[in-house]
């Protein structure tokens, strides 16, 4: 019996992809030169698929802090914090995160995925209800599956739909936890958080917001969507990641909940995995300080997002509803999207290809992420590449208007 036979369908889909060109899910860069340039097939390629929103992966101070931490504290912790103990810097980063968000407690996880997996599965247990936005990230769905709570979904970014579903659960025993994201990772659309928070609290549910793609982007201080719309006091738990705006790896949850620290002894994705190495903690602390003090990074990334979004929109591409650093073009068919993606790569532009069912609309997406480190010239070059490929493939008309078949 071949245990992998159940993936035969995937195998044939991958073979079909390979016939068109590169496998979009197995790209190997020979070198990374900066936050925006990598080497692929020996050629300089502009990186528009990194989620490196603030471009801090090569921040000289963060790099130096990381190198120093390796020399002084070694390459790894070789175990979990519960079993092997924490280093001083783990606690320091947690204190700095709590201060940054103005919360009493912070808990650091080894990845953003594990932060959602751990917090959601532990907060909502047997007899509780989890109410998820239907377009939630895989880490939220996996956290829901790992826990024993009953999982109900509501229509994406629809506060009335959430309220309706919560009212149906009015008589249910146990706790209720609503989970939403600030900026959604596939289309870059932004949640109507004030209305969602109101629906949650009017119906007796706690609220968790995943600010993975909005921390460092939204809010006057970069605390994310909750800060931007003034509802931080209505958000009970904030989850975030270090692997986007902070340029490293790891995740966290901050909260004012009493006894939050008890989670450290019941949350399995926190307890049974190795803690982050000192070098990662060190660069993350520097990046967090930079994020907190340098509002120019936010101004730049949003200006770049606006530049890219406006440029593609003017060409006639179908984009998500909001301007954010995630700029996704929806195409009609997977075949077209794969050819388009390869042509952009050949033109020196790397971005993410998202295929159904991993997209919210059953249609494929060319998903780009914009960084504060991109220059206006790089963004113009990328827009030009989209225009050329779009015309060559008949997605855009040569006169710049949208092809009839595409518009339909």
């Amino acid at each position: 019996m071949n245990l992998l036979a159940k993936f035969d369908n995937l195998k044939s889909r991958l073979q079909a992809l390979a016939e068109v060109g590169h496998n979009p899910f197995q790209i190997h860069f020979e070198a990374i030169h900066s936050a925006t340039i990598g080497i692929l097939d020996g050629r300089e390629t502009m990186l528009f698929g990194t989620n490196n929103y603030l471009g801090l992966t090569f921040d000289p101070e963060a790099v130096e802090a990381s190198c120093r931490a390796v020399r002084e504290q070694g390459t790894g912790t070789t175990g979990s914090r519960v079993a092997n103990g924490s280093y001083a810097s783990h606690g320091a980063l947690e204190a700095e995160l709590a201060t940054f968000f103005g919360r009493r407690h912070a808990m650091v996880f080894s990845t953003g995925y594990q932060a959602n997996l751990g917090i959601i599965s532990t907060l909502a247990g047997r007899g509780d209800h989890l109410i998820l936005d239907a377009d939630s990230h895989a880490s939220i769905y996996d956290g829901a599956r790992m826990g024993a709570a009953e999982v109900i979904r509501f229509r994406h970014n629809d506060p009335e739909d959430l309220a309706k579903r919560l009212k149906r659960l009015a008589g249910a025993e146990g706790g209720k936890l609503v989970v939403v994201e600030g900026i959604y990772s596939m289309l870059g659309d932004i949640a109507p958080l004030a209305e969602l928070a109101q629906a949650a609290h009017e119906n007796g549910a706690a609220l968790l917001v995943d600010e993975a793609h909005s921390m460092g982007i939204l809010g006057a201080h970069g605390r994310g969507l909750a800060e931007a719309v003034g509802v931080e006091d209505q958000v009970d738990f904030v989850v975030g990641t270090f692997s986007k705006s902070l340029g490293s790896v790891g995740g966290f949850c901050v909260s004012d909940a009493e006894d939050f620290d008890l989670l450290r002894l019941v949350c399995r994705p926190y307890m049974f995995t190795a803690s982050l190495p000192p070098s990662v903690i060190a660069s993350t602390r520097v990046a967090l300080a930079r994020l907190a003090s340098d509002s120019g990074l936010r101004t730049r990334v949003m200006a770049n997002a606006e530049h890219f979004y406006t440029g593609l929109h003017a060409l006639g591409f179908q984009l998500g509803p909001d301007v954010s650093p995630v700029v996704a073009v929806t195409l009609e068919t997977t075949e077209l999207a794969v050819v388009f993606w390869n042509a952009l790569l050949a033109a020196g532009v790397y971005l993410n290809l998202a295929l159904p069912p991993a997209t919210p609309t059953s249609r494929p997406l060319l998903r780009a992420s914009v960084s504060a480190a991109h220059t206006p010239a790089q963004i113009d070059a990328a827009i030009d590449a989209y225009a050329q490929v779009g015309e060559q493939l008949g997605v855009l008309r040569v006169d710049g208007r949208v092809a009839a078949a595409y518009a339909g």
């Binding site: 047997r126 599956r145 009953e150 109900i152 979904r153 659960l169 069912p357």
Partner: protein
């Protein structure tokens, strides 16, 4: 500690309800929703396999779930939806959730 009753497998549930008028009404509404959801012009019977025979993907299953919740004013937990394979399973699950709501 809360005690959870163990449910019998879906196919053995609600046999007793099969004859009832209420069950027939649920059946008609569920089948109508399925026919709205699928793009395949196939006859929907109790034994129809929802994903395989109707070629409904995970996104469509989700939308179907949301529509059924609103139509019947019920909450359909994800784990209960995940157990569903055939049209009969779906009808039985909806009927069961309506019954649980009433109890």
């Amino acid at each position: 500690m809360q005690i959870h009753r163990v449910r019998p497998s879906i196919t053995n549930r609600h046999i007793i309800m099969l004859e009832s008028r209420e069950f027939q009404r649920i059946r008609e509404q569920v089948v109508a929703e399925l026919e709205k959801t699928t793009k395949k012009p196939v006859e929907v019977t109790d034994d129809t396999h929802i994903v395989r025979d109707l070629e409904i993907d995970s996104l469509a299953v989700m939308n179907l779930t949301l529509a059924l919740e609103d139509e019947f004013d019920i909450s359909m937990p994800l784990e209960r939806v995940a157990e569903v394979e055939t049209v009969h399973d779906l009808i039985a699950t909806v009927a069961e959730l309506i019954e649980e709501r009433a109890s």
